[in-house]
Amino acid sequence: MSTKTYAVAIRDTLAEEMRRDPAVFVMGEDVAEQGGIFGCTRDLYREFSKDRVRNTPISEAALVGAGIGAASTGMRPVVELMYMDFTYVAMDQILNQAAKIRYMFGGRARVPLVIRGQQGIGRGNAGQHSQSVEAFFMHIPGIKVAMPSTPADAAGLLRTAIRDDNPVLFIEHKALYAVKGEVPDDPEYTVPFGSARVVREGRDATVIATHLYVDKALRVANTLMKEGISVEVIDPRTLIPFDEQTILKSVAKTHRAVVIHEAHKNAGPGAEIAATIMEKAFDELDAPVLRLGAKACTLPFNLGLENAVVPQESELLDAVRRVCYR
């Protein structure tokens, strides 16, 4: 185990995978000397050359498309998008091409492509640099969606993503990059996709949280413990594939669930999760599944406004109390 930040966990995993497999390479805007503007590829070009740590023009669609072409012909590209908001610039390549190639061509292709980058609030990046994009990619079959919330999960999930023969959208969070945690030193350490992590066990309510909200949910759980409410916190870790069993098992125990994420609440991931619980665990529910997500409003620049759009810990506290009828 080593203590490292989320960003370093990503960089170290990239380096280990590039050492292990010459087909793995990184390309993106400012990934070489600059090391990525968040430092996730810092100094990799020194070891692997600029051939394998490739600066690209600001052409996100071509960048992803080239990744698809390379992935279809024996390489394992890791394409860095500086902001996940830029996936929208490359949407055709991600959703019409990468996600569909295998199926549309009768299963005769593999596209081991990782598209990674960060999203979310926290730096006053406003409307086009602070969005949470996961819901779009959950909707179109053929692409996996990973969302690590800790340095260890960042390492373990990224390694799984790189070794996966399917396109993976690997969504990091800008406010997690500096978070430190214990990361296994094993260069084979992987976290399988579709395995949720029960972060904390509880009896009375299940909180399903991603990214920053995992930690916030833990704090809320501690507060509520003093009120006699025992909260189970689950981080799904990957949204596609989604670990239904762990969530349904939890709800069967607690009978109450709250889903919280930074993505917009409307048609957000929480809608899918809540509907799944409703469909498959209806008789277990003692309260409506509540969803907390960003308001249906563009992410504003001003910090106070930004916080007014995304769910706050106090709202989660209230929501859990509400489902527990307190």
């Binding site: 008789d283 277990e284 529910l285 309260a287 009828y325």
Partner: protein, 407 residues
């Protein structure tokens, strides 16, 4: 066309039943499967469910009436029919069926625990019934309609009563035993089915049989130790349970005691079915442990406790208290030293057990204190004579004092 509710036949030998209490009023809506009336047969009290849903248009036979089986006792129809009927008082207030707002989990738990959601008050928003309401309802009294009616009529607070029925359900007996003793006054107790049956049977027994009794003391030291041993293994054996085993063993060796006199002659029965006399508020009932000679002590204990519990709450089917070949009765718990019982026809003997008392006895020329019980065997002298009856009782004593012989 109204549906005719009849006096139903319950058990093979029932010919008539007494309506004890109607649980619905005329004009009231009754739900198929919900309790409709209480009746008493010759042996037990039974709650009879409504055979179909509808309005109880007319009650034709009132409480206390004894009605032959299959006779019509009430009419169920729909509310329209009820209003058309001139003789029927109709409760015309149509209470609109209130939608019960309950969470899925609350509904599921209520269904599992057989809890009626309409009886609950929801503590969730807008009165929504939530899981904790149903969980709390487990602690709320589950009570039979009859017991509830008795409690209401007699002003008994049921909150403190521990029910003896299934899942702790409060039975009529539980209510009655919780009742404050009433002021002394003469009471007229109508002779209803069960009392009447006992009266008839006992009179016939004494009239027809040549009953004789013999008495013997038995040292209960070993038997008490045996019960302690089982208790250590969490198996509770009553004195009766052990005697069921002892007697059934002895009966196999003495078939003459397991017999009935018929016009064709004496039938020595192969099967050993031991009846145990159980005292109920309204009379005596003798549930039967079938083929007792083939059962182990724990099996006997389990069966007898089940039968006795169900006998107490009127839950025996008629075929569970008929067909015995020998009866054991015990009044030891009432401090009775010994007593002569009346044979339960058509059996040929009955064993009456008194209390166990620590008694000075002589053993190896020394006086020691031992638990001693007196057994009284009453037998039908028409079937067996004194000597074989004595040998039978002797064998019972031997087995009781050396229960190892049974194991």
């Amino acid at each position: 066309m109204a549906y005719e509710v009849i006096m139903p036949k319950q058990g093979l030998q029932m010919t008539e039943g007494t309506i004890m209490r109607w649980l619905a009023h005329e004009g009231e809506h009754v739900e198929e499967g919900a309790a409709l009336f209480e009746m008493e047969t010759d042996k037990l009290t039974i709650t009879i469910d409504a055979p179909r849903s509808g309005t109880l248009i007319k009650i034709l036979r009132g409480e206390g009436e004894t009605v032959p089986i299959t006779q019509v006792i009430a009419l169920i129809g729909d509310a329209g029919e009820a209003t058309e009927s001139a003789e029927t008082k109709v409760a015309n207030e149509q209470v609109p069926a209130q939608r019960i707002v309950a969470t899925p989990a609350a509904r599921a738990l209520a269904a599992r625990r057989n809890i009626d959601l309409t009886a609950l008050t929801g503590s969730g928003p807008a009165g929504r019934i939530i899981l904790r309401d149903v969980e709390a309802a487990r602690g709320a009294p589950k009570i039979t309609p009859l017991a509830a009616a008795v409690a209401r009529a007699q002003g008994v607070d049921i909150s403190g009563i521990a029910g003896t029925g299934p899942g702790g359900k409060i039975m009529k007996d539980d209510v009655l035993s919780a009742k404050e003793p009433a002021a002394p006054r003469d009471t007229l107790v109508p002779i209803t089915g069960m009392r009447r049956t006992i009266a008839d049977n006992m009179t016939a027994s004494l009239r027809e049989m040549a009953q004789a009794s013999i008495r013997m003391k038995v040292d209960m030291t070993a038997l008490t130790a045996l019960r302690e041993e089982f208790r250590a293994r969490d198996i509770r054996l009553s004195v009766n349970d052990v005697f069921v085993r002892v007697v059934s063993h002895a009966l196999r060796e003495h078939p003459a005691m397991n017999a009935s006199l018929t016009p064709e002659g004496i039938i020595q029965k192969r099967a050993v079915h031991i009846g145990i006399a159980v005292a109920l508020e309204q009379g005596l009932i003798v549930p039967v442990i079938r083929s007792a000679d083939t059962l182990t002590l724990p099996e006997i204990a389990a069966q007898s406790s089940d039968l006795i519990a169900r006998a107490r709450r009127g839950g025996l089917s008629p075929d569970e208290y008929r067909g015995g070949t020998f009866t054991i009765t015990n009044l030891g718990m009432f401090d009775v030293d010994d007593f002569v019982a009346i044979i339960n026809p058509p059996e040929c003997a009955i064993l009456a057990l008194g209390k166990i008392e620590r008694t000075p006895v002589v053993r190896d020329d020394a006086i020691v204190i031992r638990p001693v019980m007196t057994m009284t065997l009453t037998y039908d002298h028409r079937i067996v004579d004194g000597a074989p009856a004595a040998r039978f009782l002797q064998r019972i004593k031997e087995l009781a004092q050396n229960p190892g012989l049974l194991l």
